[in-house]
Symmetry: C2
Subunit: 165 residues, 2 copies
Amino acid sequence: MGIEIRPATTADRDAIWEIFREVIEPGDTYAFDPAMPREDALAFWMQPAAQVYVAERDAKILGSYFLKPNQPGLGAHVANAGYMVTPTARGLGIGRAMGEHSLTEARRLGFRAMQFNFVVATNEPAVKLWKQLGFEIVATLPGAFRHLSRGYVDAYVMYRSLVDG
Amino acid sequence: MGIEIRPATTADRDAIWEIFREVIEPGDTYAFDPAMPREDALAFWMQPAAQVYVAERDAKILGSYFLKPNQPGLGAHVANAGYMVTPTARGLGIGRAMGEHSLTEARRLGFRAMQFNFVVATNEPAVKLWKQLGFEIVATLPGAFRHLSRGYVDAYVMYRSLVDG
């Protein structure tokens, strides 16, 4: 596959922003305002509490993900993560490679579980991928996402234990 | 009951911090690090996106809650809120009064639903109150809270629609 995943550096900010901008623009997968400014986007994605990674193929950055505690202090043993793949590179296995990488990293960092707070129900490739990687839908949030072309659609909370196998 | 609920002002910061400190100290209801510094606590509770209120009785502040969007942009029509009552004033109906007030305020502000992301399952008075106010448990997050005296316990996601009755 030739996909390499490595920690992001400040030199990757332009590439990450380009992916972020393209992914949020249609308003179909992430709740971020499609007009979110670059600095706000990078401040969120590369926040101090997060580990940030990029996925490269042929030395080109095609995806990025962050990994961080989902809650502070007494909930910080459950990880949260977000993943983006540049639209022109979909279907190449980059999301799956980042998902698998993030589960390994989360275990290495000592997290006991991973939780996604807001998987848009109509984002079927994402829902399918997370199920294949062991996540379960633990909640359906009715109409919680205002899909820019479909209107109000559900979002899922998905959860996966990282302990006892 | 004589409970008055009003918007908080910067003059209420000391009272809010005192309640916050007392509520998080036992590590049994909120994920915040029990040693969270004052400035971090107030920066979270009184964040720019939040409406903040205090509950008074006999001109003494006994509780506070915030109301804010649970997600940015395309998820900002679902509210999130957090509530704290000073431990010595429990059982006086202050939590219930704030809960009812927050539902009215959320509707007034145009929110379509309200979501609690992390209700500790062993916090039975809170779970009971939110059920009485129309919230449903939509997810159980296994072991997601590290209760300081009981160890890992579940947390709930609770949700309530604010439209169509």
